[in-house]
Amino acid sequence: MTAALNTSRATAVKRVGSKAMLGRLALLIAICAFFALIAPSFLAPQNIYALLQSFALLGLVTLGLSLTMIAGEFDLSVGSMVAVGGLLTIKIADHGLAFGIGAAVLFGLAVGLINAFICVRLKVASLVVTVGSMMTLSGFAYWLANGEVVSSSDIDTALLIDNPIAVIFSLRSIVTFGAFLLVTLMMNVTRAGRDIIATGSRRDVAAASGVRLGLTLALVFGLSGCMAAFAGSLLSISLVTASATMGTGTMLQAASAALIGGVALSGGRGRPVGVMLGVMILAALNNGLGALGASAATILLSNGLVLLGVVLLDGSLVADLLKRRSTARSSFGAGLPKTANV
């Protein structure tokens, strides 16, 4: 009986899920059409290329962050990690670029594992642990940069990873698409993917049915750290410079993109394809506003409004209005320290 109920529910969730994906695709097309009507250059190949370049940076960071969100946690440190990843890469690049990227990614992995360890073993809410690591990493980035913009002389590699492929793609955006493909496979085919969703939806039930919570959280935080550091690496190689303020605003945009992509702050919900559409919607919006001549401040303002909007939709307001429940219901989203209940 329970099994039957679960199956029917799963199908229902899937059906709602694909409807929502179509909705996101429609929103993306509508945004693109809107900007194309006002500024025809929006659909020019060069602009599509630029759009995919910003997708490449934000996509990797958002993909990692969204994995932690699906598991019912939140990694606030991704923004600072972008800066640290970039700085490490450029600083070590003298010994070979592969070395620099490797060091950055390993560092990201290590920080992610430490985040997970503190969350799991010391039962601290991930929002709090990662506020701490965000501050520590930000300080570390300033210390690494020592108040300067660090630059490398490796223009060849910069050209290599940014060189247009098939007019609109580049090595960077192809790598990002590849990462989305791999994570989609992981979420749909492997046990790890199912464990991540189970950990985020009903943690007590997941633990009782044999999900290794510690391992799952180590995986999502490790991946989140890796991807943010790797995104920072690629960005710094492409810019041939790195600075401590590089990741500013990335976390805000990544959170917005993940929420637009249908990842819930309360965990258990979200698919990589939705996240990809969420990133593209946000990138198109920012790019389009820029094409209309909006200043950086206006784009920041609009990013804030978008995030506020999706947070309101994610919160209990809509559900409350629909179900006419009392507002006193304790629905905190990810605000509640979930790990405390394990």
Partner: protein, 332 residues
């Protein structure tokens, strides 16, 4: 249901805060430990660093404490209410410096009142969103942070606004010619906030909601109202902290508030206020700010770069998160 109530008439579903009065009870270990470490650090500095107790250096510590301390007291309201942190405080302080410099010509007292009122308004909006709709406090305040920064940048054109007027009472003024007015203001605010949280109905509601929101709701506490007030207090404190900073140079610049979020969070965490809500006192945040100011000052006097100070501050926060969690474990 009724029969079970009559069977156990004494049991209350709401856990009332019961404080262990011993100084080193696990509940108070970190908060009181930090006070002692602060004293020891200060004594060590005074004994080993020449000129540490000179009036110039003491003033430097005081001015560092006042702005961060006031913001930390505000942050403590949010943390104690069980809503973790408010990450829009830096942006609020930054836009407050712009407002301060823009209208300084109308006189210091009206300006400060206007700034605090503006901060309270921003807090009201966030409090309504978080308290009423149940949105995540951290993400909500991050969203507000970029909205506020965006508006502030458009408003100021990204430039430094120079104020025309006299802010010297707040910036360099001294009470009775000895104690800096900023310190007086800080101590006054800390005392009032402490009394409000410890002695009023609002304060008790704040604690109980922070400890167990579901139980508080069942017990009929005014949740939305209390949370909105907590956010108003926090945001107004952030704005006032911005006014203090702006008064130093009679200037407004969006960069002036940067880092206030981190400093206030660091003070709250180091001070020993529990991130799980309900536990801790307002004075803990104030002493946390004092600890950070003394540490930063020692690093500064020892000639360590600003960048190193940031890294140390981050590590201190991380260490206090871990200590706090270990102490919770010890309590159980």
């Amino acid at each position: 249901m009724n029969s079970s109530i009559t069977a156990h008439p004494v049991r209350s579903s709401v856990a009332l805060p019961q404080f262990d009065e011993r100084i080193f009870a696990p509940d108070r270990l970190q908060a009181n430990g930090v006070k002692i470490v602060t004293l020891l650090l200060f004594a060590w500095g005074a004994l080993t660093i020449p000129g540490y107790t000179s009036s110039a250096n003491l003033s430097a510590i005081v001015y560092a404490v006042a702005a961060v301390g006031i913001a930390a007291i505000g942050m403590a309201f949010v943390t104690m209410s069980g809503n973790l942190f408010m990450l829009s405080m830096g942006a609020t302080a930054a836009i407050a410096t712009i407002l301060f410099a823009n209208v300084l010509h109308i006189g210091l007292l009206p300006v400060v009142l206007l700034v605090v009122l503006g901060g309270a308004l921003l807090g009201l909006l966030q409090g309504v969103v978080v308290g009423w709709t149940g949105a995540n406090p951290i993400i909500t305040s991050i969203a507000f942070s970029s909205i506020i920064t965006g508006i502030g940048t458009i408003w100021s054109g990204g430039l430094t606004i120079v104020g025309h007027g006299d802010a010297s009472w707040l910036s360099v003024g001294r009470f009775l010619g000895i104690i800096p007015n900023q310190l007086v203001l800080f101590v006054l605010i800390a005392t009032v906030a402490e009394v409000v949280v410890e002695r009023t109905r609002f304060g008790r509601e704040l604690r109980l909601i922070g400890m167990n929101r579901t139980a508080a709701s069942v017990a009929g506490l005014r949740i939305v109202r209390t949370l909105v007030i907590a956010f108003i207090v926090a945001s107004a404190a952030g704005a006032l902290s911005g006014a203090l900073t702006a008064s130093q140079a009679a200037q407004g610049n969006l960069k002036l508030g940067a880092g206030l979020d981190f400093d206030a969070i660091a003070a709250v965490l180091v001070g020993g206020i529990s991130i799980k809500g309900g536990r801790g006192r307002i004075m803990d945040a104030a002493f946390g700010a004092l600890f950070l100011a003394v540490v930063s000052n020692i690093l500064l006097v020892k000639g360590l770069a600003f960048e190193t100070q940031l890294a140390v501050k981050g590590l201190v926060v991380m260490a206090s998160v871990i200590t706090g969690a270990l102490l919770v474990g010890a309590r159980k």
